[in-house]
Structure formats: C-alpha cells, structure tokens
C-alpha cells in the first residue's frame, strides 16, 4: 500500500512524499514503515510506544481511531494511508491582558 508522508517527516524517508510498503493490516504496514525508516519511529510514537496524540492516521478517508478494528484493519494494495500531524493553536487573550503586552 502507499503511505503518504507529511512535509516534516520526509527528512526521514529520503525526501519521499509517498512510500510503498507491504502489509496485510494498518499495523503491519506501520511496522514495515518504521522498519524501513527507523528514524520515523520516535516521531510517530511516544517513549511508551503509543501513537503520539497529535499524529493522525487516515486509511483513505477514515480516521483509524474510529475504525472498528483500528490498527488491525485489513488493507488492500490500492489503499492509501496518510500520516497527518494536527494543526491548531490560538491567541492568549487573557494572558496578554494580564501581562499588559504591547500591540505587536
């Protein structure tokens, strides 16, 4: 199956946007991915081996967290797995007022 690598992690896949990885399930494909590109492991998983909270994994258009079999979900050669770090943030209005920060 093809795994789409996001911009910040391509440094660990030799610059490849997409890598073709064998595997019968999502979990097997991920294991094969981190086997082929060991430096990816620390960016995807915490020290306890859990998927980092900000890393989203989508099998085609489905978040694997919400698939009944999660990482044990079977995959086909034509499936696409996307690794997509979250993007969020926001201003700190209360802190700004408390600290009297200037208008920057």
């Amino acid at each position: 199956m093809n795994i789409n690598i996001p911009t910040p992690l391509r440094a660990y896949t030799g610059g490849q946007q997409t890598v073709s990885i064998p595997g019968a399930t999502v979990g097997e494909a991920l294991e094969a991915l981190t086997g082929a590109y060991p430096e990816l492991r620390q960016h995807l998983y915490s020290g306890e081996g859990k998927l980092r909270s900000f890393v989203n994994l989508y099998l085609n258009d489905d978040d694997i967290r919400y698939l009944p079999q999660k990482e044990a979900t079977p995959v086909e050669e034509s499936d696409e797995l996307s690794i997509i770090p979250s993007i969020a943030g926001g201003c700190c209005r209360r802190l700004q007022i408390l600290l009297g920060m200037p208008n920057l």
Partner: protein
C-alpha cells in the same frame, strides 16, 4: 525567508478581517527551496473550534488530507499555515507553540484589530523533534507588481 505574492498576502489578511472577531485559518501551498518556503497558493480552511473560535483554531485532519491531495496533483506541498489573532499580538502564543508539529513549515499570524488587519508576522518551526522544536522569526518577502505597489501606496 517566506516568499509570497502580494495577492496571497492580501487574501490571508482579508480572511482574518472577514472572520473577525473569530480566528481564521488556512494552508500555504508551495515549495520548500534553499531560499525558504515559496508560497504558490493559499487555501482557506474551516475552523473546527466553534466552541472558542475567538481565541482558538483547529483544521480538521480530513480537510488537511483533501488539501494535501489537491496540492500533490499540482506538484505542490504544504509549506505552512496561517491564522489570525483577533485583538491580540501577531506573535505565537504558548498554545500555538504547543500545537505546532510541522517542522520546516511557516506559521503566519495576522493581528486583526476590530475588523482591520494590522501586523502580519511569520515564524518558522525548526528542530528535529517535539522535544527541541522552536519558532524562529522568519522574514517575509512579498512580490508586488506595479499596480499592487500603487494600490498599497493608496492605502497609506
């Protein structure tokens, strides 16, 4: 350095004005070059933080995947993101930092006062991991044609 056209610069600032008093957000598509991130197109995104849209933003991963697919077809990459800070400094906040995970990407922030865009700054997320990441102030180069220069003179 972040390179973007005047029309993209004006469009992301206009997005902040339109969404005031809520935060706006979007994605910068382009190419990463030795001279910095070169923006070719900006894509507006929805803010899923409807509970605190005045001081929080979040782009749904499903939308990011759609944008990434579209970018790939055009030979482009995600090179950054933008959002607005309504009545707050155009500086990254602790929340922005904690939620920043796209190392090598530019994070553009526009301060919007009332409904007028004020300062726009860019910050480059650098580092090798979550543990050593940091934001660096990133200069922005805006490409303008003659008509746009005149337009900007007219504003000031």
């Amino acid at each position: 350095m972040l390179h973007l056209s005047y029309s993209d610069y004006a469009a992301l600032r206009a997005h902040g004005e339109e969404n005031y008093p809520h935060e706006c957000c979007g994605v910068l598509l382009g190419n990463s070059t030795p001279e910095g991130n070169q923006v070719r197109e900006i894509v507006r995104a929805g803010n899923t933080r409807t509970d605190r849209a005045h001081d929080r933003y979040n782009i749904a991963p499903e939308e990011l995947i759609r944008i990434q697919r579209q970018a790939r077809k055009q030979g482009l990459d995600i090179v950054g993101f933008y959002h607005s800070h309504p009545d707050c400094p155009a500086q990254w906040s602790q929340t922005d930092f904690a939620e920043a995970h796209w190392v090598g990407c530019s994070y553009v922030i526009t301060r919007v006062d009332q409904d007028k865009a004020a300062v726009t700054n860019s910050f480059l997320l650098t580092g090798t991991s979550e543990e050593d990441k940091k934001f660096l102030d990133e200069p922005v180069e805006i490409a303008m044609n003659e008509a746009e220069i005149e337009q900007e003179r007219g504003r000031s």
